[in-house]
């Protein structure tokens, strides 16, 4: 396969019968699959074979799905282009020569290329929505707590959720129906708000009559002109079908990127401390004591971006800097939540371009990490606020896919699915 979509191609058959029987699923390679290696796109876990399934994988199997492969990804989910993968970059099936977006690039590319009907990714700061936008497919970032993270290899656990990809909103929603709901192995989960007989998939009616859309002006500033034009065309289409829009302001989002990166890096520095080469993962052939051996193992096993984030997170939490960075970032997080709550009290959903730019050319932007971080401006606020969001194809600019992001209130997935299904 020329696109390098999968790190491991292996068929895992589910139950004979179920709502997903006959459906093929690509699973991001940071989601544990019993007996099938789960690398997180890292040399550190290149040989790691989990002894258990993630809850979402158990649910896929029970629903009769066939898993067709473990999808390529940025190393430990840390990237916006899929290019930090130890296993090489992925070509974008919808825009050859361009990146598929990250970090769940392989998952989105699998659906775009028709290699799988649907896919699972994980979204810590946009890692489902960005590749959905770049590959011209649908991706859902569920409300924090809707989907179990048991068996998801942690990067920044206060921010991340597993989410589905599909070619249509209904396909993605059908996969959400299978994975959503409480799990006694993840204490942050809770039951879905679905009424008896209701599903997420049956909300995909395309009915947007009377829908109030808020457009945060801050999320249009600085975006590529072609992207903004395509965004407004999609809003006009929703207006034609009975929706109305008004502009809203979210002043806090000006600080969302720095708050997100401080929190995510801090959590990463702690979560990735477990990789010491003793219980699992790469182990350096090094002489010396405990600390010296760990430091060599981690030098060899982690790539540049992962080292960068671990070090910056360690710095942000270290003596004398905690209040300056981490505490302020938590203030910013609370501020972002308040802003969203306020904007959503006067609108049903909030709309913006998912990514402020069209997909980058492969290799275009690896050297400047800060520029990469800034590309996440429209997606990270949603993770800080724990809210659900969906990215749906809005159209193209110069032949390149553009995604429209809709954000809703906590556990308001059905509302997002209904609105987004008017477009795909």
């Amino acid at each position: 396969m020329s696109e390098n979509i999968y790190i491991t191609e292996e068929r895992i058959e589910g139950a004979d019968d179920g709502p997903l029987s006959g459906t093929t699923v690509a699973v991001k390679d940071n989601i544990s699959t019993e007996g099938v290696r789960t690398t997180c796109g890292s040399e550190m876990l290149a040989e790691y074979v989990p002894p258990y399934d993630a809850t979402v994988v158990s649910r896929l199997k029970e629903a009769g799905a066939t898993i067709v492969g473990k999808a390529n990804m940025d190393e430990f989910g840390m990237g916006t282009t899929n290019e930090t993968s130890h296993f090489g970059s992925v070509d974008n099936p919808a825009a050859p020569g361009r990146v598929p977006g990250g970090s769940s690039g392989g998952s989105a590319a699998a659906v775009a290329a028709g290699e799988a009907d649907v896919a699972l990714g994980s979204d810590t700061g946009g890692s489902v929505r960005c590749p959905a936008a770049f590959c011209g497919v649908v991706g859902i970032k569920p409300t924090y707590g809707l989907v179990s993270r048991y068996g998801l290899v942690a990067y920044a656990n206060s921010l991340e959720q597993i989410g589905p990809f599909g070619e249509t909103v209904e396909d993605a929603a059908q996969l959400l129906d299978v994975i959503a709901g409480d799990d006694d192995r993840d204490a942050t989960t809770r039951e879905t708000p679905l009424e008896e007989g209701e599903t997420y998939a049956d909300a995909a009616t395309g009915d947007v009559d009377g829908l109030q859309i808020g457009v945060p002006t801050e999320l249009l500033e600085g975006a590529d002109e072609g992207v903004v034009e395509t965004f407004w065309d999609a809003i006009a289409e929703l207006e034609d079908r009975g929706a109305e829009y008004h502009e809203v302001s979210l002043p806090s989002v000006e600080h969302a990127v720095e708050a997100y990166y401080v929190i995510a890096m801090s959590e990463a520095s702690s979560n990735l401390a477990r990789f010491d080469g003793v219980r699992y993962g790469h182990s350096a052939d090094a002489e010396g004591n405990w600390n010296e051996t760990f430091a060599r193992t981690r030098e060899e096993g982690f790539g540049d971006e992962v080292k960068r984030r671990i070090l910056l997170g360690t710095y942000a939490l270290s003596a004398g800097y905690h209040d300056k960075y981490y505490k302020k970032a938590q203030d910013a997080r609370a501020w972002v939540k308040q802003d969203f709550d306020e904007a959503l009290s006067e609108a049903d959903v909030l709309a913006s371009p998912t990514m402020p730019v069209p997909p980058f050319e492969l290799g275009e932007s690896l050297d400047d990490p800060l520029q990469m971080y800034l590309a996440d401006a429209n997606t990270v606020p949603v993770n800080l606020a724990d809210l659900p969001a969906i990215s749906v194809p809005a159209g193209e600019t110069d032949g390149l896919p553009v995604g429209l992001q809709l954000v809703g209130p906590a556990f308001g997935e059905r509302r997002l699915i209904r609105a987004a299904s008017a477009l795909a």
Binding site: D276, T314, Q330, W335
Partner: protein
């Protein structure tokens, strides 16, 4: 910005805390990149103090025995094991 620039010594110190060896090239490159990134993080100074209303409840499970991984499965991915235990490097 020279006051806020990150020195190679600071990068080495943090790398030591995080238990990640770096070669000299990596130290120099990270020092340059960290200066840019941390300067950008400085804008958090403009964020006001915000009341955080955490609407959280503890979730506890009954304290009852239940199945866990058996020892053999738990040791399968270890680089070294001995007598049913993980074997790590010398502590000192």
């Amino acid at each position: 910005m020279s006051d806020d620039a990150v020195s190679p010594e600071e990068v080495r110190h943090v790398a030591g805390l995080a238990r990640v060896d770096l070669d000299d090239d990596e130290v120099d490159r990270f020092a340059r990149q960290f200066a840019d990134i941390l300067e950008y993080f400085e804008t958090l100074d403009e964020v006001p103090e915000v009341d955080r209303e955490a609407d959280l409840t503890n979730v506890m499970r009954p304290d009852e025995e239940r199945d866990s991984l058996d020892r053999e499965a738990a040791l399968e991915n270890a680089s070294k094991a001995e007598d049913g235990y993980f074997k790590g490097p010398n502590v000192s």
